[in-house]
Structures are given as C-alpha cells and as structure tokens.
C-alpha cells in the first residue's frame, strides 16, 4: 500500500507498524505533527506532556514497564529532556524506545540552530538519520528492533525539510508485538553511584557492539559508481546531493550515525581523488573522516549554517546556480509574520508598548511578535519559561541599584505549564517586584493548536482535567491576581497600572481564545460573542490620522486613493481593538 506522507507522518506509520504502545511529546516545530498523527492511531496511547522532560520520562517509564515507547520533540526540546536522557542511556530499555529529535537547519521557526547529533556522542546513545519519508517509516520500524537487541534507546535525528516534505511511502500493517513483562531489576533501573558505576562499564561494552553493528548494517552503504569523486552524506543531504551529482560520484550513505563506522569510512575514502562531506550545521562526519586519515572538502567548501539544499551545493561546488529571470528586487517588500487579525494578544501589547521605564521580558510563542512594530513591547526573550525568571533577575538588579525601572514579564498558557510555573515559583518565593502576565489564549497557538493542561482536552480531543491557571497561581502563593479580557483596552490599561503600583509580585491573566482556535463546546459557552462580527470604517468620519494602524492589525490599511483607513472584510473578525483606538468614532461594526 502506497501513501503520500510527510517525514513526520511516515515516522508515526513506522512506529505504529512496529507495534509501538506509548507516545508522548510536547509540541514544537518541526516535530509537532508526529504526536498529532499518532493520536489518530487508536492502538497507541498518545499524549501531550507539559514539557519535553516530562514526555521523555513518561516514555521511559512505559519502556521499563515493558511497552514499546517513543518521545518526540524539537531540537531545543531535547535540552529540556537532557537530564533523563543522559542517565537513562546507562540503564537501557525493556520495551524498545525511540527518541525523535527534530532539528532546524535554517531556523525557520527556532531560536537557534543547534546540531543535536552532538547529543548522540555526549550521551552515548545510538543514532539513526533517515533521508526521506520512506526511510523515516523504515528506520522507525527497525529502530525498535535495534533498541531491544542492543538494550539501548535510539535517537532518531530528523530535520525540518525531512519532517515537512512529502514523499511516497510503501506501508504495511501493524505487527503483532506482545508487550514485555515487567520484572523488578534494581541493578538495571536504579542508579545510586554503586550501581551506576557498573552500568557505566556495561555502557562502554554496548558501544563496542554498536560500533560493530554500524560497520556491517545495511543502514550504512557504499554506492560505487566507479568514480574518483566521493560524497559522504547522511539525512536529507543525501537527496540534495543525489539531485546535484546523480551517478557522477560514489556515495557513502550513512543511516546509522552513532557510533560511526570508521572502517567503512576508511574503505570508502581509500583511492578517491576528492571527497566531499555534505552535512548541515556542524562538521561531525567531517571530523571522523579526518580522524581516520583523510582530508575531505567539508566546511571549507560548504557553509556551517542554514540548509544545504541542492542550489547551495551546486553553488559551492560548481560556482553557480541555474540561471533565472532578471528583475528589480528593490520593489520586493519584506513580509514578516504578524499577530493575526483578531489576535487576543494585540490589546495587551498595544497598551504595554506605551509604558515608559519598563523592561519587558518575553518568551517563546506567537506573542514573541510583540517585539516588532508597531508595539515594540519586548526587550528580551530566550527559551521556554524564561520570561518570569529572567524578569525576576532583572527586577532584583534594578531594586539593588535603586533604578527607576520596572519589569513586566509575559508568556503564554502552554509555556506557563511547560516551565513557566517553576519561574513563577521563583518570583513568588523570592519576592520579586515583577508583573507576570499569562496570555491565556486557551490553546498552544504557535505550533498549530495543540491541547495543553489548561484547555480541558487531551490530544485525542477527549475530556481532561482542566488546570485553572488562576487557581494554580493562587496555590503557588500569588496574592495579587487579576483575570481580564485583553480586547478591552481600558481594562488592560487599568490592570497594568494596578499591577505596577504594587511593591510585590502580581499576576495578570489575559483570558480569551485564539482567533484560529476551533472552539470547543465550553469555549462557545464561555465566549459566545467571540469573532461573530466585522469592524468597518465610516469613510465620512475617518480623517486619515492613521492612529488605528498602530494596532498593528494586518486587516487594516490606508487606501492608496482616498488616504483613509480601510478594513479587509475577509480578514476582520470584529475584535474592536481598532474601534477603541479611533479618536473620531469612525469605526463601527456589522454582523459577519
């Protein structure tokens, strides 16, 4: 049976065919669709965990209890999950286990471009790298077998293009793999130093066996086209290289990439005049080739950053890309992402951006866009959950040196549950004079609408225990808490002023569903008027002052001809933010 699948869909298919029982994840581009798709396979228990560390720990528990399990995350998510990763590798599995890391060469939707292949070496975990959707399915199936055979979790390294590009995949049915029995075994699954020292020795022994496997597995292969030029390559770069070189070079195609097959590499490189090593980001294959005594063209030929797509390779090797048409590029205007028309973050950032002597500490999500024009309402951001804690540190410094600066920190509902809770504990326990805002849009927005502990739904849409954010904050010891509708600008202003008047930590929760969210029955009951209207400009009243454009709404623009404001009726959902800004009452509303 053939299907057209993204790399992410194919991974899931392979895992399902391999009889996987348990899957846990936290959303993050480009890995999100893995768990989303898995929740469609009813034989598998699939869940969104509050963060990647928790997801991995849950998958580890399932493996030890005897299930085939997996955890998936974006590259920076593995940093969050690094703690369980490094120690679990010592212990090994019961049911086979695969950890998927989805790396982002090109940083399409990420704060860094870290190369998670380094984790394989650092944590001493076996690693596999598929090159297309078919291999994503095939490798995943094989990974569970290798995991159980060598008693190791497997790191499956994906990249954005692989995750999000489609190819034709030959599929099969689900294998009948009985779950393993759980047996208490403290020598394996506890790690006080006396036990862990023994596991440490066994781990080195396992790496020797994995290296032998790497030398002979079909996952690593030579394609000998009888040429004097060779290309060493893994992952998506194999497809890019084949596109450029076709059969004009020999290939060493590596699919099992930790431990690397150094003998096979030596065999391949011997006798070649030129060796290209094509790998996105860091020179990991290159350094291994150098170590065994060869001098390949690697980072001296190809960039260490961004994607190495076919045109990049072509340019680096042959000096030019294909010829294209010529035109005036100065007329191309950048189109950066923007908060959607009707986005409930707009009202908050519109008012927050007006505050003086305030450091605004941001976080990871759609609301990071609050930094941009016209709001300019963010000074810094770093990683998931860091806004409250970085804000705390900054506020303490301002206090110590009696500076006339206040701190407002913002993060989203899902980010709050991810690691923001820990940071709020820091603010409350250590008494920081910070305003901590939770932008509760009732969903994990940026990654495309996944449920979280605050939405009252599970990954498969079934009802879940809803963690009420206000109750959570109160239970952590927060005394000053207000929950508001962010589309009411006057209320936003008053609430910010109230919070900034306090000498102790405060929490503001802006509660309004994301404009793109598919409303649940509960949402419909709680927000019956949301997004039911459209705003329109009364051209007779509009004086073209452009004040409304400062809302930063993509549905608003100045008409070229009459120089007055206009609202795109296809985009507008009637949030009324511009209506409240207009000094001439020129913006009205109509039913949708």
């Amino acid at each position: 049976m053939k299907k057209l699948m993204t790399g992410n869909e194919a991974l899931v298919r392979g895992a399902w065919e391999a009889g996987v029982n348990f899957a846990s994840a936290y959303p993050g581009t480009p890995s999100t669709e893995i768990l989303e798709n898995m929740s469609g396979y009813k034989e598998v228990y699939s869940e969104w965990a509050p963060n990647e560390k928790v997801a991995l720990e849950a998958a580890i528990g399932a493996s030890i209890a005897g299930a085939r399990s997996m955890a998936s995350m974006k590259h920076v998510g593995l940093n969050v999950a690094a703690d369980p990763l490094f120690s679990f590798v010592y212990q090994g599995v019961n049911g086979g286990m695969v950890i998927i890391t989805a790396d982002e060469p090109g940083q399409h939707s990420s704060q860094n471009e870290q190369d998670n292949r380094h984790y394989a070496k650092a944590a001493k975990i076996a690693m596999m790298e598929p090159s297309d959707s078919q291999e994503a399915r095939d490798f995943m199936k094989e990974a569970f077998e290798i995991s159980e055979q060598f008693d190791t979790p497997i790191l499956m390294r994906m990249t954005t293009r692989l995750c999000h590009s489609k190819g034709i995949v030959e599929c099969a049915e689900r294998a009948d793999v009985p779950a393993k029995k759980y047996e208490k075994n403290i020598a394996k699954h506890l790690n006080p130093p006396a036990i862990a020292k023994k596991q440490r020795i066994l781990l080195e022994d396992r790496l020797v066996k994995l290296k032998e496997f790497s030398e002979t597995t079909h996952l690593n292969r030579i394609e000998d086209n009888g040429k004097k030029v060779g290309v060493v390559v893994s992952g998506m770069c194999y497809c890019y290289a084949k596109e450029v070189f076709g059969d004009d070079v020999n290939y060493l195609k590596l699919g099992f990439t930790y431990p690397l097959p150094s003998e096979l590499i030596k065999k391949f490189c011997t006798g070649l005049d030129t060796i290209y090593v094509i790998e996105e980001n860091d020179p990991i294959l290159e350094e291994e080739i150098q170590r065994v005594g060869f001098a390949p063209k690697g980072k001296n030929t190809f960039p260490a950053y961004d994607e190495l797509t076919s045109d990049v390779i072509r340019k680096c090797v042959f000096g030019k890309t294909f010829e294209s048409v010529d035109y005036d590029r100065t007329k191309v205007v950048a189109r950066p992402p923007a908060l959607c028309a009707g986005c409930p973050h707009r009202g908050l950032f519109y008012e927050l951006g007006k505050k003086k002597n305030v450091l605004i500490s941001g976080d990871i999500g759609c609301y990071t866009l609050g930094f941009a024009d016209p709001y300019n309402a963010m000074d810094l951001n770093l990683c998931m959950g860091a806004s409250f804690s970085m804000g705390h540190g900054a506020a303490k410094k301002f206090e110590m040196f009696h500076e006339d600066m206040r701190v407002v920190s913002v993060l989203g509902d899902s980010t709050f549950f991810h690691t923001g809770i820990n940071s709020l504990v820091e603010c409350i326990y250590n008494g920081s004079k910070t305003v901590n805002i939770i932008l509760d849009n009732r969903i994990t927005g940026m990654t495309g609408h996944q449920e979280n502990p605050g939405t009252g739904k599970h990954a498969d849409g079934s009802d879940a225990t809803e963690l009420d954010i206000e109750t959570v904050c109160r239970s952590l010891g927060a005394k000053n808490i207000r929950t508001i509708n962010p589309n009411n600008l006057q209320l936003v202003r008053e609430t910010l002023d109230w919070a900034l008047s306090l000498d102790e930590p405060s929490v503001i929760i802006t509660k309004y569903p994301c404009v793109l969210k598919k409303f649940s029955e509960e949402d419909k009951a709680k927000f019956p008027d949301a997004y039911k209207t459209k705003n329109i400009v009364d051209k007779d009243k509009c004086i073209g002052c452009k004040m409304c454009l400062k809302s930063g709404c993509p549905a608003l623009f100045l008409n070229r001809d009459d120089k007055k404001a206009e609202i795109d009726p296809l985009q507008c959902v009637g949030c009324d933010v511009c209506q409240q800004i207009c000094p001439k009452n020129a913006i009205g509303k109509v039913e949708k």
Binding site: T29, S109, H164, E307, S324, Y327, C366, K546, L549
Partner: protein, 190 residues
C-alpha cells in the same frame, strides 16, 4: 524529466490544500512525487511556499533557484519575491490580489503599484488572473486556492488525471461541488 511547480502566497491563503490535491493527483498518475513546505512561525501572515516536484524519480523536495517550470502566486508581491526560482522560460500565473505586509501598513515601505508590469518585464509567459473575484462569483471566497490549482492543471497539461475523484476523496462533502467548479473556472483562465 523532473517538473517543478512552486505555489507561493501569504500564510492562511490555502496553498497547502491546493498543493496537497495536486500531489495526490500526480501520485495517482504514477509519478514519483515530492513536496516541501515550511510550517510554524512563517504561517502567521508571513510569506509561504509549497514546492511540488514530480517525474520518474525525484530526489530533492526543494526547488532550486532558476528551475521552477511554473510559479503560481496567490498574491502579487509574493510572485515578485519568489521570481528568482523561475526557469528562464518558465510560466507565471499571478492572482491580481494585494495583501499589505506590515512594513507597508506601518508606512515604512511602499507596495509598488506596478508589480504586475515588473513581472511581465522579466518573464514572457505571464497570466494574470483574478481568482479572488472568481471565487466570490462562485459564492465561496475560500475556493480561490482551488481556482489557482485549476490553472496549474491546465498549464502543466495534467487534465487527464481524474481530479473529480481526487477532490471527492479528499475534501469535506459539503465543499466538493464548489471545489470541482473552482477547478474548472481555473482551467478556463489560462
């Protein structure tokens, strides 16, 4: 011989559904097919692309600069942004529709009035369509993307594929008829 079709537009315009139907049709026809698209941050009103490649054996899912046989742009400025991906003698279909980028809304940049002229100056095979208006005429503004799919079907000579069945199997029943009409409208525009 591998063919490459680049669909470009603004996040939310429906490039993904159009390219999904296109790739399913191509697979049914027996082609090897690959498609690439970028999700995430860029979808929030940013510039988006769906890249479709098909032939006997396709390696890379990513279209190289200067190699697209056809660019279909759901918005005028996006056609100009992606034009360097077009082959020297490639075809452009551009939807005569403007969506203002934030720098223009903020008054920091101009949306040139002669974008279409600029495209025509650079390429000799350009068809300007008003898919947005045609979709409204059909009574469903959302099928603009499917009208543009129709232009690809015609221009790439893929009309022998059973699109009727592809649409019926992959689109919600309530939208099937609108989508089928939209394909036909699109085919008649080029």
């Amino acid at each position: 011989m591998t063919k490459s079709v680049l669909l470009v537009g603004v996040g939310g315009q429906g490039t993904i559904l159009a390219s999904k139907l296109l790739t399913l049709g191509l697979m049914e026809e027996g082609f090897d097919v690959k498609m690439s698209e970028i999700h995430g941050m860029s979808q929030r009103g940013g510039s988006v692309s769906s890249q479709v490649r098909y032939g006997d054996k396709v390696w890379s899912p990513v279209i190289e600069k200067g190699s697209a046989d056809m660019i279909v742009s759901f918005e005028k400025m996006e056609a100009l942004r992606w034009l360097e991906y077009l082959k020297k003698d490639g075809k452009v279909v551009v939807n005569d529709h403007e969506m203002m980028p934030m720098p223009v809304i903020m008054g920091k940049a101009d949306y040139a009035a002669d974008i279409i002229d600029e495209i025509k100056k650079a390429c000799h095979d350009v068809t300007v369509v008003n898919a947005t208006e045609e979709a409204v005429k059909l009574g469903n503004g959302k099928v603009m993307n499917i009208i543009l799919l129709g232009t690809i079907i015609k221009a790439m000579k893929l009309d022998n594929i059973d699109w009727d069945r592809i649409v019926r199997e992959n689109v919600k029943p309530a939208f099937v008829e609108d989508n089928l009409k939209a394909i036909k409208v699109g085919m008649d525009l080029v």
